[in-house]
Symmetry: C2
Subunit: 546 residues, 2 copies
């Protein structure tokens, strides 16, 4: 896909060798990594116990047609022989990220043979109900949380090595001796998060649905805040710049654990490509390493916005100064991929960069690219101003002006009031959203465009909560407060009404089974980029807390 070298910890180790000249951040990288590690938060562990034994009922009115029905308190497990049950499903009553353990003991005669279990963990009921094999998904089958465990000696207490993200656990007995009885007891999960504080509750006058959304949003963010901002504690369990940006927004308005943001910003810088460009994602375990060649256009630029936000939230100039060279370097992505006429050269950009915006294959991304580029330039210039580095990026004001003018000339349809790309007439939410966020559309034009969207039958809608976040922001930026509240209450409230206690990676109100991975149990049902109601509700109390 591109010509860049891979990096990572092995790369770090070689920074002191003769190959240093090839590395853009040769002198700073090791120090950044050290600072990132110094900010690594301790995890708070809390013991969680199952609440109920449940059955999963097939119910076409329920989310994904699966409804968890309580049949007994979980404590009843302690006193019954598991050999008689063979299979049960437990509900822990809330989403948990952590290490699961259980104990087995005989209830009479000595254990004369080993036991074998399959444990299947699910964030949503369907995951403990739908068969995983034959496996149709396009990501690793190993993401699915089913673990087969042999217990050679009874009694014993077993902790599954894998960290899990779940609310439900199905336990199937796959092997047992007919010559003794046993039961399972002391089932628990040591839940982990790096969150230590909890924000003030919302005023009691806040709408109930907003309160519920806020709670689920806080839960989502809390579960994703581990030793980095993870995208999802089930999958991918790692730091992506796009998720970091939104999580940091949520964190600033809730838990305020800014050191985690600082850690992630340093980590991404330390593990950036040798060309100086950021890689979109860092895999933290077993040692932090960037995913080589994973260049994602918007994410690299949103890093700058996250850094500016961090500086504004904390006043931590040291970090911002440390990382300013990184932000400055990312701006080249815009400069080097722009045509003379002030429009982003989308075709050229795509040769090197993944341009994401949303999980919608049909989305035409030209206009959104232009809008996001201008948004990022504006925010980056603001960062330069805060640090007094305007001279280093003195070309930006003219560049922003030129790009804005070009977009208005080539991408704005005065008749319809809608923005489109130059090579496609597709009307999409993404295009309008980013033209508004980039300040290319005036608030009034933005209102007109966002309102017009509703009348276009084949409009390209948001496919993820990720883009939906920017939609809410665009509504607010255009002063469409009531619409913003309504949209948030409808979209995130829709998940709540379908039983979400954490927000999902993918949510299409019309299709419970939508999956980017060709298998909906593989979706993450606690996903960072869905947590932002936490931010909206608290940043705009006059809109959401009335």
């Amino acid at each position: 896909m591109n010509k860049f070298f891979s990096t990572g910890l092995l790369g770090l180790l070689s920074f002191t060798t003769a190959s240093l000249a090839q590395d853009y951040y040769a002198n700073a990288r090791a120090q950044w990594f050290k600072k990132a590690e110094a900010c690594k938060p301790a995890l708070t562990l809390t013991e969680k116990r199952p609440q109920h034994i449940v059955e999963i009922a097939n119910d076409t009115t329920a989310f994904q047609h699966c409804r968890a029905v309580q049949v007994a308190p979980a404590t009843s497990l302690d006193t019954t022989s598991f050999g008689d049950k063979k299979e049960i499903i437990l509900d822990f009553g809330e989403h948990i990220t952590g290490h699961f353990s259980f104990a087995v003991r005989t209830t009479g005669l000595a254990a004369d043979g080993p036991l074998r279990f399959r444990f299947t963990f699910g964030e949503v009921p369907a995951e403990v109900s739908v068969p995983f094999d034959p496996y149709p998904g396009i990501l690793s089958r190993a993401w699915l949380q089913d673990e087969v465990v042999t217990v050679m000696h009874v009694p014993d207490t077993i902790t599954l090595p894998r960290r899990l993200a779940f609310r439900y656990v199905k336990i199937e007995l796959l092997g047992y001796s007919p010559y003794y009885q046993f039961n399972l007891h002391d089932l628990k999960c040591m839940a982990s998060t790096s969150v230590t504080t909890w924000p003030e509750p919302l005023p009691p006058t806040t709408d109930p649905i907003i309160r519920q959304i806020d709670q689920a949003g806080l839960n989502t963010l809390k579960e994703c805040m581990q030793t980095v901002y993870e995208d999802g504690p089930k999958r991918d369990q790692r730091l992506w710049i796009g998720d970091l940006y939104l999580e940091a927004l949520g964190n600033t308005y809730s838990f305020k654990q800014h050191d985690l943001t600082k850690r992630c910003l340093y980590l991404l810088a330390a593990l950036s490509d040798t060309t100086g460009h950021l890689l979109a994602t860092v895999i933290e375990q077993p040692v932090p390493r960037a995913q080589d060649k994973q260049f994602l256009f918007e994410y690299a630029l949103l890093y700058n916005v996250a850094l500016k936000d961090y500086l504004e939230a904390t006043g931590d100039r040291t970090t911002a100064e440390d990382l300013w060279p990184v932000a400055k370097k990312q701006l080249d992505i815009v400069r080097e991929n722009m045509r003379d006429n002030g429009l982003m050269d989308y075709e050229k950009l795509e040769e090197t960069w993944w341009v994401f915006f949303d999980w919608r294959e049909e989305l035409h991304k030209e206009a959104a690219t232009q809008g996001l580029a201008v948004f990022a330039l504006r925010e980056s210039y603001r960062l330069a101003e805060l640090l007094g580095h305007e001279k280093e990026v003195a070309d930006l004001p003219a560049l922003i002006k030129k790009m804005t003018k070009a977009a208005r000339k080539h991408m704005y349809n005065l008749a319809t009031g809608l923005f489109t790309g130059t090579t496609s007439e597709q009307v999409s939410y993404a295009s309008q959203i980013w033209m508004i966020l980039g300040g290319i559309a005036t608030p009034k034009e933005g209102q007109r465009a966002l309102t017009a969207l509703r009348t276009i039958p084949d409009v390209c809608r948001p496919g993820t909560p990720y883009l939906y976040h920017y939609y809410i922001q665009a509504l607010l930026d255009c002063g469409m407060r009531q619409e913003a509240k309504q949209a948030l209450a409808t979209y995130w409230g829709g998940m709540v009404e379908k039983g979400a206690d954490t927000f999902w990676e993918t949510y299409d109100p019309q299709d419970d089974f939508l999956s980017q991975y060709n298998f909906y149990p593989l979706n993450s049902y606690c996903h960072a980029w869905s947590c932002t109601p936490v931010y909206f509700i608290r940043k705009y109390p006059e809109v959401f807390q009335r």
Copy 2:
């Protein structure tokens, strides 16, 4: 099945309470347990590496129709992507008991998702070829050695928690990411045994087949000698008196690690039933515990023989004196289950005791019971003599005489020269064997009976190497040396010729698929009771080493 209380470590802990009066060995038990633990051997660990990548060919001329065919050296695994292979079978070149570990590493891009493998370990090729499910076996499915492992982070090194017994391992890739390549390396097994010395080699003039049998016998015994004499390192991984007796015979003539025998004798005594009777088997993990209610007639009596053998081999009078009360108590099994006419009351015996002798459902056990009882009385009296305790068992000589006379009167057919039970005309190897070993048949009568067996079309043959051991001993006791050598070379040599490097739990030359558990992959293929050629070959060099 019986009225006895269960015992075990929990029982041990209560020996100091008011319930002491109910316990036959109240004052000695804790001390015995302490002595057993003091003799617990350290395990010697040896790193073993796979030798070859093999394929299992379907071959009706091969044992269980499976032949392992070498296709590449195992080292070729280090340099090839496992994602391209998806499944391989490795041959470690020898039977190993221990902990298996492996490492995974990427061969390029960072690992962006977890891996999932199934490892299937087999003592024989069929175990890594035959599907385990749907599972038809009658013991726990969990005995089968297939383990599913998720590797969440790459690189990593994983040690499977379960101790394994295997020569072959099949590795199947069940989950992987399409976005990176990886390979498996550093596959190894830390092989464990408590054997530290190796006996002198046999003279070079010994028949090749005898030398091969001896080698496989030594391997079998070595693999079973862990922190107790196990019956089989794959299954059941525990101490049975019957196996102990034969393993101790083998050990006395090979490794001479008598402390392991001592440990097992003390452990069985410490964990015997509160009535004073021995339980047939001790499960060592997680804490030593006898299998409650598992009363096995011959095994309880063979304990006495093993104790006598131990004293003769070591001269350790302290241990023999300590455990003499246990041996003395077991004699009551004979006294209390004998009719006035001097015959064992087989029906009464069976109400309380499992009478085993062999895995042959059709075997009529009355005559063997009589023979074994007399054998045990004789050996126990010899033990009393060695310790000077004849007066405590002064009834034995008369009892032996009476039982011998009764057997000769009621169970010996002068016309055929064969022994049978009183309620069945079945002619079996077991009946002749035990009448000979009990000294009820004279050597000459024994010769006649053993010779006659070959001419009986529907004779009940031995079903296990366990009974075959006693058959060889009976042949030797009757002076049928050539026949003994021939039988040993044919039976154990048959296993060697079918590829055995350790001897099997079950071996019927006519039926490779015979299983007591309704599923031949569940059979143990390294089984203690099959190790005794080691003893015969060295105890009778004039027969086997010519």
